[in-house]
């Protein structure tokens, strides 16, 4: 009996060991609960979709990829705990983290010590010494600010009010907007900081309207945008709201209240049907969307496309150097070659870990439930 039990345990351990050898683990610290879940959920699904596609084509270096996603609950402190688990227990070969800038900054030093590439949905960590292992897939704020300012300049609206939230990215967007205002002949008449959970924004909008705002620019993504546009409607104001990147669910909710006065920087995945067919630069987007729609239907894929691209970048680099050694993979990612991603064109180099170098946005609105480009 003892022998049988021993044999069984040994067989189980062997199976486990074999299974462990068969996969390369890729970690993902994502906010699957809390305020950032609406972004990190799709980002994680994009990574999983990429892993499925890669595994169906044989995986990497003869093994399959296993994505280990851990919920950091949108809390920076929790992100550190998650990072420790992924690095020390799961022995992941790369991290593909969600969009919490504060969470990613909190774990950056830990990841740098472990010498693991960390692909981010957020901005880069604030400390320069932590940049070495971090790569960002978030377009720099200058792009979405410029496309909105250019539109305002074109339609002759010179006074704007800003709504921004307390996240680092939103703060960066606000600072960028302040720096670029003069270039576009725009005067910022007021800036109000909201919280994503604010139940009411009528007071913010009343104040910005009283300050003479002719348009509202909102920094930070999420359903709070719906609260903001509904506040505009409740107050009977004729202010257009120019939002940040938004999930199409939010766009639908906002456009239902404000119509074509709700404008947003659309992603390639959101406007693909409006782009010239047969364009080689959108091939990766088309391929991704085909798989995405087959699995998730009409669910928005903006953040998922970035997650997909992040894993593809790591896999391309590993295949290039034929190893999962962190230092070599890092060098391969930094080799300055361009990757035509599903979310847009990406390019990293040793001195630039911001992958998005050209403006990826198309100014868009929604009419009758369909995304249209703003002319």
């Amino acid at each position: 009996m003892r022998k049988l039990l021993g044999a069984t345990v040994a067989a189980l351990l062997t199976c486990t060991a074999v299974h462990a050898q068969e996969t390369y683990k890729v970690g993902s610290s994502v906010g699957l609960s809390g305020y950032i879940a609406f972004i990190d959920g799709p980002w994680k699904d994009g990574i999983a979709l990429a892993a499925d596609a890669i595994n169906q084509n044989g995986g990497i270096l003869g093994r399959k990829i296993e994505v280990v996603a851990e919920d950091m609950r949108s809390e920076p402190a929790e992100a550190v705990t998650v990072a420790r688990k992924l690095i020390n227990s799961d022995k992941v070969i790369a991290l593909i983290n969600g969009c919490s800038s504060a969470g990613n900054a909190a774990m950056a030093a830990l990841v740098a010590r472990a010498k693991i590439p960390m692909m981010l949905c957020s901005i880069l960590p604030p400390k320069t010494e932590d940049h070495k292992w971090a790569f960002s897939y978030l377009p720099p704020p200058v792009f979405d600010v410029e496309i909105r300012y250019a539109h305002l300049q074109k339609v002759g609206k010179k006074k704007v009010g800003i709504l921004y939230d307390a996240t680092p990215y939103s703060g960066l967007q606000k600072r960028t907007a302040e720096e670029l205002a003069a270039k576009y002949g725009i005067e910022i008449v007021g800036a109000e900081q909201f919280k994503p959970a604010d139940a009411d924004m009528t007071s913010y909008l009343t104040k910005l309207d009283a300050a003479g705002a002719q348009a509202i620019i909102k920094m930070g993504s999420g359903p709070a945008t719906i609260t903001a546009v509904k506040a505009i409607k409740q107050l009977g104001l004729s202010l257009p709201l120019l939002a940040s990147t938004e999930d199409l669910d939010v766009v639908r909710g906002a456009a239902a209240a404000l119509g074509d006065q709700f404008i947003f920087p659309g992603q390639r995945t959101q406007v693909l049907h409006l782009l010239p067919k047969g364009d080689a630069s959108v091939k990766a987007t088309s391929e991704f969307l085909t798989l995405w729609k087959a699995k998730y239907g009409d669910r928005d894929s903006t953040w998922a496309a970035r997650g997909w691209d992040a894993l593809q970048t790591v896999v391309v680099a590993i295949r290039k150097v034929n190893t999962v050694d962190g230092t070599k993979v890092l060098a391969a990612i930094e080799d300055n070659s361009s990757l035509g991603g599903a979310s847009g064109d990406l390019q990293f180099s040793p001195d630039n870990h911001l992958g998005v170098r050209t403006n990826p946005y198309y100014l868009a609105t929604m009419v009758n439930g369909k995304v249209e480009l703003v002319q």
Binding site: K195, A199, S203, Y204, A210, P223, T227, G253
Partner: protein, 294 residues
Amino acid sequence: MYDMSTILQFLVNGIGIGCIYGLVAIGFAVIFNASGIVNFAQGVFVMLGGIFTYVTFKTGYFPLWLCAVISVMATAAIGAIFQILIVRPLLKKRTALFMMILATLAVAVILENAVLHLVGDRSFSFPPFSPGPPFKWGGVVLDRQMIWIVTSTVVLVGLLVALYRYTLVGKAMKACAINPQVASILSIPVQKMLVYSFALSAALGAVAGILITPTQYTAYHIAVPFSVTGFVAALIGGLGNPFGAFVGGLIVGLLQSYSVLFFSAGYKEVVTFSVLLLFLFVRPGGLFGSLVED
């Protein structure tokens, strides 16, 4: 400086959101009155009110008003079940008060996660009760949904006052709050009154959620801010006094609104919590004290 119409507009804005906070605060007061428990799942009832209405309305089979009624009933039922399955056994075991509060937090987390898994992480909304442009008087704007919010809240507060003052059930609930042992000796079904209190509190939360959703959105994660602000409102008005809690809600709504006007949006919570601290030092029982002292 701001003109009078702007200042009045902030008054209107503050009253509107204050009514919602007031309804949540009343929910806190009703349960505290009946059981001495601070129910931090109160914000979850707000969320459930919006979610249930959205889900039933989305089916396309029912008009919005019926969806709202179904939602209130379903949420009230959850409140009653919460009392029967969680609160009652803990009360029987004479569990410490802070453990009871932790239990309410646990229920809040469980219900939030249940909604997350059953309905998803998306945000939802439904149309205003009376579509159309807002009314304007001079420079002051009054949105139609705002009228619904204020009118419904005033009616509910009136009914609640009448319930406690003039009905046998209300008086029995009040008796349970004063002394459950004596109430029991007087043949008042204490446990039944507690079930009623939880159901009533949940229903009030649901109404708040149904009224506010057309002006914003609902999602599984909206509960906590309503719980926190509602609790602050209840403390300011009087945790043991439903009418006081309603006034507390109005005060918080106005404080938040005028903080934005005279300072900035980033300071509205600083102002609100500073006023709360002031109350805790100067008048810890809140503006209106407790119902049982009346």
